[in-house]
Each structure stands twice: as C-alpha cells, then as structure tokens.
C-alpha cells in the first residue's frame, strides 16, 4: 500500500494534518515529519528519512511538503531513501487528505496517489 509523509516547518502542523488525513485514510500509513528535531520551527532531513522508512511497505511513498527548506530536505531524504518516494506538487493539507483517500483504492499506485494529491491544487473554496 502506498504510504504518505507530511512535512511541515511545525511539528504540530504536521501532526494535525496527519490527524485530518487519517480520518479519511483507512489503513493508509501516514507519518508526520514536522519541526527541526529540536522542538523549533524548521525541517530536518533525518526526521523525514525516518518517516519515509516507517511509511514505506515497498509500494512507495508520497511526500506532502509546505515551504522552502521543507522541499529541499524532503528531496535530500528521498535521495538517501532505499525505495521509491515522490514529492507531490500540491497544497500540504488538502493534498494529504486527497492522497490518503486515493491510497485506500485497491488499485492505487504511486502515480495515481501523486496525481490525486496534486489535483488538490484545483480545489476551489469560494
């Protein structure tokens, strides 16, 4: 099953987004990798690496990110990861919810889950 990792500068934000996505995500493995590892705002490649390993059962991982160094640290963690992982180019919360639902489809693939996560960019709110 495709897994998810949510990367945010805030540990609380990452955990909160995981909480929202898990509500819709059934058995999908969703890991939070927020904060800089020292309890401050930031992102940390080691934390993201650990989250990738925890979320990956062999079918790959879709990574949702917020801003700036979250993208860079996620890229580095993916380079160092022993398996397939892709950053979804979409909003971090809506993308995580979409991806969590998409991953529960028995025919889901890494590509189909990324596609759904990225489709969240088109969600209109007004």
């Amino acid at each position: 099953m495709v897994g998810l990792v949510v990367v945010s500068h805030s540990a609380k934000a990452a955990e909160g987004i995981v909480e929202v996505a898990a509500e819709m995500g059934g058995d999908t493995a969703i890991e939070a990798a927020g904060g800089d590892g020292d309890g401050s705002i930031g992102t940390d490649a080691d934390r993201i690496s650990d989250a990738l390993a925890a979320a990956d059962d062999g079918d790959g991982v879709v990574v949702l990110v917020d801003l700036g160094s979250a993208v860079m640290n996620a890229e580095v963690a993916i380079e160092l990861h022993d398996g397939e992982a892709v950053i979804a180019d979409g909003p971090v919360l809506e993308g995580a919810v979409n991806a969590a639902v998409a991953a529960t489809d028995p025919k889901a693939t890494l590509e189909s889950v990324v596609e759904q996560a990225e489709a969240a960019a088109d969600i209109e709110k007004t």
């Binding site: 940390d44 490649a45 080691d46 700036g68 160094s69 860079m72 640290n73 890229e75 580095v76």
Partner: protein
C-alpha cells in the same frame, strides 16, 4: 589514513574554526535579510562535522567528505543543511578515486549543479550560487584550459568567489527568505555566499599547508588570451 583523507579531515577542522570565528558576522549579515540563524547553525554543524570526520577509522577521501556532509545535513537547520550538507553528500561520489585535478573539477561541478537544482537558483538571485558559480567556472578553466597547478587554480577560484560575494551586495534577492524583502534586500551581502567564500578560503589554506607551499597571490583573471577564431568554431 591516505594523504587525501588527512587533507579533508584538516580542511573540515579549519572550516569549523573559521565559521566559529565568523559566527557573529554571519548572523549579522543574516539578520539584515533573513532570520539571523546562519552563523549559529553553521558553527554548530561544522563543529559536529569536524568531530565526526576526526572519529573515522582510516577513511578514504570520499568517505570523509560524505561524513562531513551527512553531519552538516543533520545538524544545520533551514535551507543551509540540505544546500551545504546534501550537496556535499551527493558530490562526494566524484571522489571515489581520491583527489586529483580531474576528480576535484568533477566534484566542484557536481556540487554546483546540486546547489543550483536544490535551491532552484541561478546567478543573480543573491544567493550562494553567485559566489559558487564564478569559483567553479574559474577552477575548471584554470585546470583544464590554462593548465595551472591545482593550488593556483584553487587560489583563482577563491578570488572569483570573492568577486561573486561582492556582486550579491548591489542586486535584489529572488530566492530564499531574503526574496520576501523585495527591493529592501538590495545593498546587503548574502550570508550564504559569504560562508561559501570562507569555506573555500579554508580549503585553499589547507591545501597550501598540505603541500608545504605559500598561498599564491593571484586574481581571477585567466593568463591566456582567447583565440577568437577558435572560439567561433
């Protein structure tokens, strides 16, 4: 330990000391345009990296560089961790055969490409790319075309990086946190370009030490006159 690896261990130690000495200056530069964490973050990360490479048991050059990069990646927060540390880890693969003029050029080029890709930055964005690009280009040309000694090539690269750091002052930031300032970023020297220069200066000093030579007093200009006809073809 091989001579190459010993040189890397000495270089990482020298970089750690230099960044520690420049810590407040880097933080001052960063507080003008960023979040004032560059000096502290880098000083902590490079100090840890110096300890990590010193603890290695008989490493080769590639392992020493990779270990320094992994430690910087883990210890330095913000974008500097992946930019400095992640790029060192990636470029270390070019040093598999040890350090020669050829592998040094390949390492420099791979490192530059990684930093550009990762930061999505190009020359003129007021980032470390402004120091790194002229340095790597000058190093490559000095080795491959001008046939200079590696030490002289590195000295020219440092002179080029220095010019690049000065170039960041009068331009507007288009990447990183400083870009949020828009025109207010003009007139400020980029902290990442500055720390890149410090690292290169320490590489040069260490290389001169290892070779028992003086640091060559050079500027970034090439000793050769381009052949216009050859260039056209």
């Amino acid at each position: 330990m091989s001579g190459d690896a010993a040189a890397i261990v000495a270089a990482v130690e020298a970089v750690a000391e230099r960044i520690q000495a420049e810590r407040d200056h880097l933080t001052d530069l960063d507080s003008a345009i960023g979040d004032a964490d560059h000096g502290g973050n880098m000083a902590r990360g490079w100090a840890e990296a110096a300890d990590a490479v010193a603890d290695l048991d008989d490493p080769d050059a590639q392992t020493a560089v990779k270990t320094a990069g992994k430690t910087v990646l883990s210890e330095v927060g913000g974008a500097a961790g992946p930019l400095y540390g992640g790029s060192l880890v990636f470029a270390s693969q070019e040093l598999e055969g040890g350090i020669t003029p050829e592998t040094a050029v390949a390492f420099a080029e791979t490192y530059l490409e990684k930093v550009q890709d990762r930061g999505d930055a190009t020359v003129g964005d007021q980032t470390m790319v402004d120091a790194l690009t002229p340095a790597v280009h000058t190093f490559k040309k000095s080795i491959e075309t001008d046939d200079l000694s590696p030490l002289e090539a590195l000295a020219k690269a440092v002179a080029a990086a220095e010019a690049g750091v000065q170039f960041t002052v009068p331009i507007r930031a288009s990447k990183g946190r400083a870009s949020y300032l828009g025109w207010r970023s003009v007139g400020h020297q980029d902290p990442g370009a500055t720390s890149t220069l410090y690292i290169m200066e320490e590489l040069l000093d260490t290389a001169a030490d290892q070779l028992d030579s003086e640091v060559p007093d050079v500027d970034a200009s090439s000793p050769t006159i381009p052949d216009a006809e050859a260039a056209e073809n």
